[in-house]
């Protein structure tokens, strides 16, 4: 157990953007998108002025994640097609990417896979904004990145400990920090002025039945996370599959046949997603 109360932990987690280990690109980006009044054109021109960011965003939107393969050629086009919230989330995703790879080997693949799965589920459920759900899925484990950036030694020990004792990572976090990566992720998301649905999905991706306004979206990400772990794609911090919440499953109203169809669909996109993971540079 860490010798700090929750308030102190929260205060430290909320300041992760000041850490020297945070990529410069993310710091610059936060200064623009933390502003809730930032318009499409402010963000568009900011991104377009940075070739690294531009290429990362274009690769992402043209990847199997978003179903416009090879058709989006400019940041402005991406903003129009996907909307400001999605592009804001994507920008954060691709910038947290570097930190994610260092934080936990395989966490980026896990996040990417969950985003693909969430989009497939959201589309099957005919939700109106599958891309928004997918972006939330991409960032759902933001709290793990925050923990490992702020408490690297402690978090590494925690990972070893959960493996030795066959625990879920949330169980280990609860024991050691008194809070979980879902809480930590939501703190950071609030601090960075994420849209409300994103904050709520991150906070409740393990307990979607407690989400107040975006329960269905949270349930989609909850199921996506479980399917990706069950598939063994990437690494989320432990070698178990968290239990599917009953209310979330019945609320989604999916059948075992739906599951099988979605798994086949997922398989094709994952093959493309792993290429995407491997070819980053």
């Amino acid at each position: 157990m860490i010798d700090k109360d929750v308030r102190a932990i929260r205060a430290e987690i909320e300041r992760i953007d000041t850490l020297p280990t945070i990529p410069t690109i993310l710091k610059k980006l936060l200064s623009v998108i933390e502003n809730p009044k930032a318009s499409l054109s402010t963000i568009g021109s900011f991104v377009s002025n940075d070739p690294v960011l531009t290429s990362r965003v274009l690769r992402m939107v043209n990847s199997p994640l978003y179903g416009f393969p090879g058709r989006i050629s400019s940041v402005n086009q991406a903003l129009i097609l996907l909307g400001l919230n999605v592009v804001r989330g994507l920008l954060l995703g691709v910038s947290v990417f570097e930190a994610m790879q260092k934080a936990m080997f395989g966490l980026w693949e896990h996040s990417l896979g969950t985003a693909v799965a969430a989009r497939i589920i959201a589309k099957r459920k005919k939700l109106s904004e599958p891309e928004e759900v997918s972006v939330a899925a991409l960032l759902h484990d933001l709290g793990k990145v925050a923990f490992s950036l702020k408490f690297p030694a402690e978090y590494e020990n925690l990972l070893k400990d959960v493996e030795d004792r066959s625990l879920l990572i949330v169980e280990g976090e609860k024991e050691f920090f008194g809070v979980t990566h879902a809480d930590a992720g939501a703190w950071v998301a609030k601090r960075w002025n994420f849209p409300p649905n994103l904050i709520e999905i991150i906070e409740y991706h393990h307990k979607p039945h407690l989400a107040k306004n975006f329960g269905t979206q949270a349930a989609v990400v909850h199921l996506a996370d479980i399917l990706i772990r069950a598939r063994g794609f990437g690494f989320a911090g432990d070698s178990l599959v968290p239990h599917l919440n009953q209310a979330a499953w019945y609320g989604l109203g999916l059948t075992e046949n739906d599951l099988k169809d979605m798994l086949s669909e997922l398989e094709e996109s994952l093959a493309e997603a792993s290429d995407f993971v491997l070819s980053d540079d």
Partner: protein, 87 residues
């Protein structure tokens, strides 16, 4: 097995283009080229034997035996993996 990226030498000259099918003799030549790494399509995962993949699945679900819903997920995933690895 195909190259997912071109093999280039130190000065950036392409030795083998992306998509080259790797035959035994080509693999031998590549081994003699003193390269640090090459990229092939498919990645390591798809080369795992099916038995190992299914054993790992059981291992991931080792604490879900008393959960009927998790059994549904595991069953669907097992059937799915069997289909994928039988191809």
């Amino acid at each position: 097995m195909k190259l997912s990226r071109a093999v280039v030498n130190d000065s950036g000259m392409v030795l083998l283009p992306q998509g080259t099918v790797l035959t035994d003799s080509l693999i031998q030549r590549i081994e003699n080229m003193n390269l640090t790494s090459i990229s092939v399509e498919g990645g390591a995962e798809s080369r795992k034997p099916k038995e190992e993949v299914l054993a790992e699945l059981e291992h991931r679900f080792r604490k879900s035996d008393d959960q009927p819903l998790m059994q549904v997920i595991k069953r669907a995933m097992r059937e799915h993996l069997e289909a994928v690895y039988n191809k």
